[in-house]
């Protein structure tokens, strides 16, 4: 779960990490009043859960009272389009108003779990204010990496080394206190990322966390209630939220083939093979281990809501979830949700035969594929409106057989 900057700073302040004086605001006049209270100049920062705000114009400095109001009015309600949001952007609903810092120099500091070593790792650099990827590319020698043993924690000698490397010996005690506090936040809040970029040294010679980014491990939210209640779902895609309420894992994409798959790896693979067959996936959807009629119906409902979707591909490999159960689920779901576009089904694994039998007997219209590549080709052709290929014919034939059976 991603926290807003103002939320992350609240957490940091509680642990004794100095952050700029400021407040989150919801309307331009409120932002203006806060700026009067803080004193000019102030920085107005869009609070959106996405990276690249600065470059997209979401962080602005205001030096006069008129400027505060003007910038606030401009930013509130504006669609911020960053590298991460895609062209649809995200609407600014909150502004953090902060006293502008007197910056002497900018540092970079972050903690994350390094997957290679399986250890929390501190990454720091004298070159703050630019993206750490850029620093890594241009000045790799300026990146400090300190792996931390979870048993002993962030040790005094490691902190000392950091102080030397970052030229912080003049504010030795303050720096040591702040670095150990940051590690404490990382552990006690179950962070997957804690990043201060920049962490600045002010002209008056103190450290100040001018920006803060905090991601908390979703799996640990059950024991971090104070973080969990900070969740902001207003920026989430409504379909993705609804899917999540039903225990589905759904991510919207831009293509025209709806996918319903069990298992994350197979769901990704299904997207890949659709693309290889000349189609474009409209979504990633993992129905998980418990494909019940309700979850499948919900899946159909969400997929068909997208008018771009021209065909649906159901790819189920029965393991824990058995094919006969899934087949029944599909039938019940199709009774609840009207699906008027072609559906290609590929069922395999546990109880495949029983599942196929159930689908055949139903008399409902779908295309049945025997393996992954056949299914992908079929659904791509159907979505692209060319359904006279070989596999298309085969599918139609199967469909006719189903009809015949029904008539009998």
């Amino acid at each position: 779960m991603k926290l807003h900057e103002y939320q992350a700073k609240e957490v940091l302040a509680n642990f004794g990490v100095p952050v700029p004086e400021g407040r989150v605001t919801y309307f331009p006049d409120e932002a203006w009043m806060v700026s009067m209270e803080l004193g000019l100049p102030v920085v107005l920062k869009a609070q959106v859960l996405t990276g690249g705000r600065g470059k997209a114009g979401g962080v602005r400095i205001a030096r006069t009272s008129d400027e505060v109001l003007q910038i606030a009015q401009e930013l509130f309600g504006k669609k911020l389009v960053t590298k991460q949001t895609g062209p649809q952007g995200v609407v600014i609903r909150k502004l953090l108003v902060e006293k502008a810092a007197d910056i002497d120099r900018e540092l970079y500091f972050s903690i994350l779990v390094d997957r290679t070593t399986s250890r929390p790792t501190v990454i720091a650099s004298k070159r703050g204010g630019m993206s750490i990827e850029e620093v890594a590319e241009q000045y790799p020698e300026d990146i400090i990496k300190i792996p931390i043993d979870p048993v002993t924690g962030f040790l005094p000698y490691q902190i000392r080394r950091l102080k030397y490397d970052l030229d912080l010996m003049s504010l030795e005690k303050e720096a040591a206190k702040i670095f150990s506090a940051l590690y404490k936040v990382f552990i006690e809040k179950d962070c997957s990322l804690l990043e201060l970029n920049p962490l600045v040294v002010t002209k008056s010679g103190h450290l100040l966390a001018v920006d803060a980014k905090m991601d908390v491990d979703d799996n640990a939210l059950y024991r971090r209630k104070e973080i969990s209640r900070m969740r902001d779902i207003t920026e989430a895609d409504p379909d993705e939220l609804e899917a999540r309420f039903s225990g589905l894992n759904f991510i919207k994409l831009s293509g025209n083939i709806g996918c319903m798959v069990n298992g994350a790896g197979l769901a990704m693979t299904t997207m890949d093979i659709i693309k290889l067959a000349g189609g474009e996936p409209a979504n990633f959807l993992d129905v998980g281990g418990e494909a019940t009629p309700e979850t499948i119906a919900k899946g159909f409902e969400i997929i068909t809501r997208d008018p771009k979707v021209k065909a649906i591909f159901i790819n189920i490999f029965g393991g824990i979830v058995r094919c006969d159960k899934v087949a029944n689920g599909i039938l019940q779901a199709l009774k609840k949700v009207k699906v008027e576009i072609p559906v290609v089904i590929r069922l395999t694994g546990m109880n495949r035969e029983e599942g196929m039998e159930i689908l055949k007997k139903s008399g409902l219209k779908f295309y049945v594929a025997n393996d992954l590549k056949e299914a992908a080709k079929m659904v791509a052709e159907l979505a692209n409106g060319k359904n006279n290929g070989n596999s298309g014919k085969k599918a139609q034939k199967q469909e006719e057989q189903q009809k015949e059976k029904k008539e009998k």
Partner: protein
């Protein structure tokens, strides 16, 4: 021969009285696995399908001498369950549980490294040696005895791969799901070494996915010349958008790292047979092995 687990492995099931635990304990037993006992705190003295249940791992070890533990304990308690098994001297642990906090796994990983424990998972389907033993939740019937060793980060994709290999007229020596989380007990390198040593394995298949750099590390290891047997690889998630977690906690592209392209490139440079179309995994392996006169 087999890899890591054997026909003679004696299995303890932690969390055996739960819905999944009891179902799969029985399924493993039906497959031929020696399931000797189970543990659920507070349920000691009960039985699940004739399997005795104990309150603690220590007790179960004393009474029934298991050497592998299979864990179905819910995420908040799973790390503790793994450490309990380690504390009782069990050296091979298979953890199915999905959703364990990463910082819990940081601690677990440190302990198992020190104790020399092989942890398979978490968030994995387990391990199977077709026709001999199944320690996990996979559907046994899609696997067949043969010569290809499979290691996969994803569960259903492991089934898909095994199924294609079976249908291509080959079989599997051992198949292992290494887990979909950012921190897992074993990496590809561990299994590559095991399969290289195993006389029954003639080829290996890496089923990878986006995120992290486990596949790149494996490529580096293969490139060093440590692996003589042919290696095949498929990477899922080529079409995934960056910055979005694709189901598995580990499957996320951050910045420039973890993309399918970077993994394919590293593997290709290491001489691995890269299979880019997941519809042709079985066919490609069969073709290459025939050409190289291995089968």
């Amino acid at each position: 021969m087999a890899v890591c687990v054997y026909r003679t492995s004696r299995v303890l099931v932690q969390g055996i009285t739960g819905k999944e635990g009891s179902y799969h304990a029985k399924a493993c037993k039906d497959y031929g696995t020696k399931v000797v006992s189970g543990v659920t705190p507070g349920k000691g003295g009960q039985e699940v399908d004739g399997i005795p249940v104990f309150n603690t791992v220590e007790e179960a070890v004393k009474e029934t001498h298991p050497n592998v533990s299979l864990i179905f304990v819910p995420p908040p308690f799973a790390a503790d369950a793994i450490l309990e098994a380690v504390g009782s001297g069990i050296k091979t642990i298979v953890c199915i549980t999905e959703g364990i906090p990463v910082l819990d796994m940081v601690k677990v990983k440190r302990v198992i490294e020190k104790e020399g424990v092989t942890l398979i998972g978490p968030n994995c389907p387990g391990i199977i040696t077709p026709g001999a033993t199944k320690i996990g939740i996979m559907p046994g019937h899609i696997f067949s005895r043969g010569s290809v060793g499979i290691m996969s980060r994803s569960g259903t994709l492991l089934y898909e791969t095994a199924d294609q290999i079976t249908k291509a007229g080959l079989g599997q020596s051992t198949c292992v799901g290494i887990g979909g989380d950012p921190i897992v007990g074993t990496d590809y390198i561990f299994w590559l070494k095991q399969f290289e040593k195993d006389p029954e394995t003639e080829a290996m298949m890496i089923v990878g996915e986006i995120g992290g750099n486990a596949e790149e590390k494996a490529a580096e290891f293969i490139k060093s010349g440590a692996i003589k047997k042919p290696v095949f690889a498929f990477i899922a998630g080529r079409t995934a958008p960056p910055g979005r977690r694709m189901g598995h906690a580990g499957a996320i592209i951050m910045g420039k790292s973890g993309t399918a392209e970077s993994k394919y490139q590293a593997l290709r440079e290491a001489g691995v047979h890269v299979i880019e179309n997941p519809g042709y995994i079985g066919e490609t392996i069969a073709k290459v092995l025939k050409e190289r006169a291995i089968i």
